[in-house]
Amino acid sequence: MTELARLHDDLFARMQARPSPRWKLLFAITGGLTVLLFALIAYTFATGIGVFGTNIPAGWAFPIINFVYWIGIGHAGTFISAILFLLEQHNWRNPINRLTETMTIFAVMQAALFPVLHLGRPWFAYWLFPYPDLMAVWPQVKSALPWDAAAVTTYFTVSVLFWYLGMIPDLASVRDHATSRARRIAFGIAAMGWRGSAQQWRHWRVAYLMLASIATPLVISVHSVVSSDFAIGLTPGWHTTLQPPYFVAGAIFSGFAMVIVLAIPTRYFFRLEHVITDRVLDNCAKLMLITGLIVAYGYLLDDFGAYYGGDPAERTLDFVYHPRSVIFWVTMGCNVVVPQMFWARRMRRNRTALFVGSLLVLVGMWGERFMIIVEGLLRDHIPSAWGTYTPTLVDLGILAGTFGFFSFLYLLFVRFVPFIPASELKEEA
């Protein structure tokens, strides 16, 4: 048997292993959370968004935090699959690129739920798009919100195209070596008649390169556009030119944390330690450390801006409110202190440290979004407009539900789809 055949059989045998009881248990738990999510969405639609804790002055709260957070999670996927592709980091990009692209797509799906939920009248969500309208009222493109709709739609669509195009050769592999007729037909349709001819590869390579080149600026542009939702507002903590780079760095930071959180159990359950090696995780941890440092620099610069700008509202927020806020200290601990342990190679190679550290970063980045979005609104320019905010059980349930739905989709994906890009690993071999 040739080296290639051995690699192929090994990868596909592992990817198509029968689900273990632990997979089934996780599947049941995440399935339950998914049901909870859709039940709460139905409840919200039926009752109205009064069921959220969102109030005046905190008119943007959990739904917007979750939107920004989930969009951010997606970024590392595109970073790995597109930017590292163009930079030719194939040896550590290839083993995880499909996992991370999938993570991107599922994360953006969670994010896309929230603006619609937050509309109050979700059945008018299509007003965001410039359809031929008899009332002659169209999206106001001088506002940041239609920019957001355009950026997120583009990001999702291009991510799906890039992901699917990259997967076609492997879908054809599954089709050609399928054991049952049903699988053969399903994957035969999904692979769209891919035969690996030189003509197909020739066009495929150029198309893949082009999509990578298109996805690369999207990594930077999407969260920059999301950040302008805040940056062009006057609220303290929002109104700063710091936002776009700070949001993008934070997005990639939290995305790499999610990559590590997904990759460690995946390689464990499917026994893929020889494919998703310690070196791959080591590099992810390094990038998490770097983007974490950029985020820490962002916190510093934010405080400097408040001090140097001299705006009383900004100063009150940064120097009076934040030091008394639990969320602020949790964020600083998780995002600034915790990643510092990844300076040590020993920690980057330690599964438990990586996993726990990444989970804490995920908590910290959620806290950061809360800090930016809600705390600024609670300490607006006029003290008489100050207020408090408490989330409701529905808010918390929907947040938990999106984590469940995300994991549910991910579990289904690793069960049915070739999640290691076999053809790209063969090329490297």
Partner: protein, 176 residues
């Protein structure tokens, strides 16, 4: 390629050598099938560079131009609204959607062009009936020569391909 001869080789180098041999005999209707994109295969087959980057460029420019025009039409012309004392036609805020739609339509164009150029959606081909051809997506490197080749001479070609040391040699589409 509906009829012809097809041979399987154990590795990419053997395939490239075989292509050189068969082409040196004047055959031109060649196609190779490999489990991954093989470096140098296009040069060996004498194929031109894929023109798909043009599709991406045209799609991106068209998308961007259309988006800008649409924004101008909607908020600059049909329903001008005074926002922050900005003029109705204001290029700066239009730029973001313009750029995003450039990316979106560039991506869609190159994806659809790839499906078209790579002849996808053709789920079956006579060559799929060749026994063992499924190794083209596993570890086999296949070379097919079509019977529509102007130089076609089945017996001679069979001898030539035998000489290149294939793992297997078959006819397809009703040939031998």
């Amino acid at each position: 390629m509906r009829r012809g001869l097809v041979a399987e080789y154990a590795d990419a180098d053997a395939l490239l050598v075989a292509i050189r041999v068969v082409r040196s005999r004047g055959y031109t209707a060649l196609e190779a099938f490999t489990p991954f994109p093989v470096h140098g295969l296009d040069d060996a087959l004498g194929a031109r560079r894929s023109p798909l980057s043009i599709a991406a460029g045209v799609g991106a420019l068209g998308g961007a131009a259309g988006a800008y025009a649409l924004q101008w039409l909607l908020v600059g012309y049909l329903y001008p609204l005074d926002v922050g004392a900005h003029p109705p036609h204001m290029p700066l805020p239009f730029l973001i959607i313009t750029i995003e739609m450039g990316f979106l339509f560039g991506g869609l164009a190159v994806f659809l062009a790839c499906l078209f150029a790579a002849r996808l959606f053709r789920l079956w081909d006579p060559i799929c009936e060749v026994p063992g051809f499924e190794s083209a997506t596993r570890d086999g490197f296949w070379l097919a020569v079509g019977a529509d080749d102007p130089k076609w001479d089945g017996r001679e070609l069979e001898a030539v391909m035998h000489g290149t040391g294939p793992r297997a040699l078959h006819g397809f589409g009703g040939l031998g």
